[in-house]
Symmetry: C2
Subunit: 348 residues, 2 copies
């Protein structure tokens, strides 16, 4: 019944056919691993998107491509919400558009905890509700209230618009919920932003979130990290840094130094960071982004935990609510937040 949503998030991240089809990069002939669920095997078997190597010429070209990607994803969200028993409230926090997702039967001990979800999409895709699959699944499968941030996108809004918006929402949440009961999660660009949000919070002298869920985080916008080489052409979602990813980094950075920790948190000081769960896959182009960040956190003494899914490319653990690995992931993530988000002590 909900099989039709399986590909939507990934479609949004990387697919479409508005601009010219991409060329291929050298790639090993890779069998589909029998070591994952049959649902995931079908996803792994899919060919790379035709447009991984798109290079939009100007803002109008980005907008055309974005609209084509987002339209079917946005259209699918109401049914996904319904299938997972998640209600939505569209509102603003700190002046930023958000979607607040709440599961039908929110467990009582989570009633005063909030998760902020920062979506993926390379800082260039995912406006409105189009990239909310992760947030909705976190609400429905993970049984948490989730604030999904509709932050501004590049190239119209380069750095620091996206993270400024995320910070505004975070500050607004802190007005009603102590940081000790706030978690921040995200995948890809959103995973990087979760880490940057913690850096920004410290720089601005406000409390850090109690825990971070950083899925395959884009922690280095430069082409640095071993898996940009080893998993090039192996990852069937992003395929290569030399596809649209480099363009997205360029238009978001807008000439700003990409090694600024506010763009690439791998270069930041992560001392005293909250517990962080990082997730990636063996074929992920961002495998090195993820494990470099994990090692850096561990070496700084942070309680950082790592999940690496067998056989999957970038962000494919989000494939869909009928994929066993996806369902398990959100349960695991919910347990992680349970362990680190304090319950309210002053409850009457």
């Amino acid at each position: 019944m909900i099989r039709r949503f399986v590909f939507l998030f990934l479609v949004l991240l990387c697919c479409g056919s508005v601009v010219s089809a991409g060329e291929s990069v050298p790639r090993l002939p890779l069998p589909v691993p029998p070591t994952v669920s049959s649902e995931l095997q079908r996803i792994i078997a899919a060919a790379p998107p035709a447009d991984w190597n798109n290079h939009p010429k100007d803002t109008a070209a980005w907008q055309t491509w974005r609209a084509a990607l987002e339209q079917p994803a946005t259209a699918a969200m109401p049914a996904l919400r319904k299938a997972l028993g998640v209600s939505v409230e569209r509102t603003t926090l700190g002046g930023v558009a958000v979607f607040v997702y709440t599961p039908e039967n929110l467990p009582e001990d989570r009633a005063d905890r909030v998760l902020i979800c920062l979506h993926g999409g390379g800082y260039v895709f995912g406006s409105g509700e189009s990239a909310a699959q992760e947030s909705i699944m976190m609400a429905g499968l993970g049984q948490y209230r989730v604030v999904h941030v509709d932050y501004r996108l590049a190239p119209e809004w380069p750095y620091p618009a996206a993270i400024d918006d995320a910070m505004r929402v975070y500050r607004a949440v802190l007005a009603t919920t102590p940081a000790s009961r706030v978690g921040v999660l995200g995948t890809s660009t959103g995973g990087g932003m979760a880490l940057i949000l913690a850096l920004r919070a410290r720089a601005e002298g406000i409390p850090l979130p109690a825990a971070l869920g950083a899925g395959t985080p884009w922690v280095d916008l430069t082409k640095t990290g071993d898996s940009y080489a080893t998993n090039e052409g192996v990852d069937t979602v992003l395929v290569s840094y030399e596809g649209w990813l480099r363009d997205a980094a360029d238009v978001y950075a807008g000439g700003h130094d990409m090694r600024d920790p506010m763009l690439s948190p791998i270069y930041g000081n992560v001392h005293d960071f909250p517990p962080t769960l990082l997730t990636t896959g063996t074929r992920d182009l961002f495998l090195s982004n993820t494990v470099r960040m994990h090692l850096k956190l561990r070496q700084a003494g942070v309680a950082a935990d790592l999940l690496v899914f067998e056989g999957i490319s970038h962000a494919q653990y989000l494939a869909g609510p009928d994929v066993p690995e996806t369902r398990w992931y959100f349960k695991e993530l919910a347990q992680f937040f349970d362990a680190h988000l304090q319950e309210r002590r002053e409850r009457p």
Copy 2:
């Protein structure tokens, strides 16, 4: 000063030139990642061993190759012990030859804790002290007493000789030290054996070790797991399952079903396993062995933790005591055992 030891363990695992040189497998042109220490960069830059594709014809050929590999490694161990301030006692436990390594200034709170280390080498290499680099570094860098097991090797001694020997040593250690103060570690074949030891302990009705350190464990002797494909020719240590590894699996299994959990613990029941720290690298041919096992443990509710080193091939985190990543690894592993091996409560 101790640079000359850096390659010894890896040499032992996979090098030599007694038998014919191997052919090459297709492999991407891979740059050396700048995201690791300069010491590790030099190791990553090294070409695969000439003999990764050896296929010894009979027991005599294995013995000739083994002797050639082990001689220089064995010769280097006294200097490694001296450099790290580690003393050695050669004795037997349960009738099995062991080397007991003790650091010069064993911390008092570790005096009544014991680690058993099961060495790597595909069940076919590593006799005597030749594969003791990991044990000696665990003693010297990790500051633990380590019992290094000189278990019997294939093809002379196929399954279950190796794990029988490990069990004998484990039972002998339990005669003087409660399981709650015993940890078991190992890398590659030794990592697999650490997991199998826990399965065997349960099958035999004796207490499981308090914690396991399973470095890039050989948990599946069959060619199953995505990284056997994705990291073929990327891993410069093992290179391919189709090198000597398949032969080693064959001669150890000796016709026994390789999917028996006592050979491939990925097929075992790991419910109620002790806390386990697993370690691998992004280029590791055993990346999937490691992450499959980690996920299986997590899904069974075990406190399983994962480290993935950037840019390294099979077992290269053991490169040597002057490599920063190696030094950090053993500190991390020691902290892990500290957290899970109980202190003696009945101390007078």
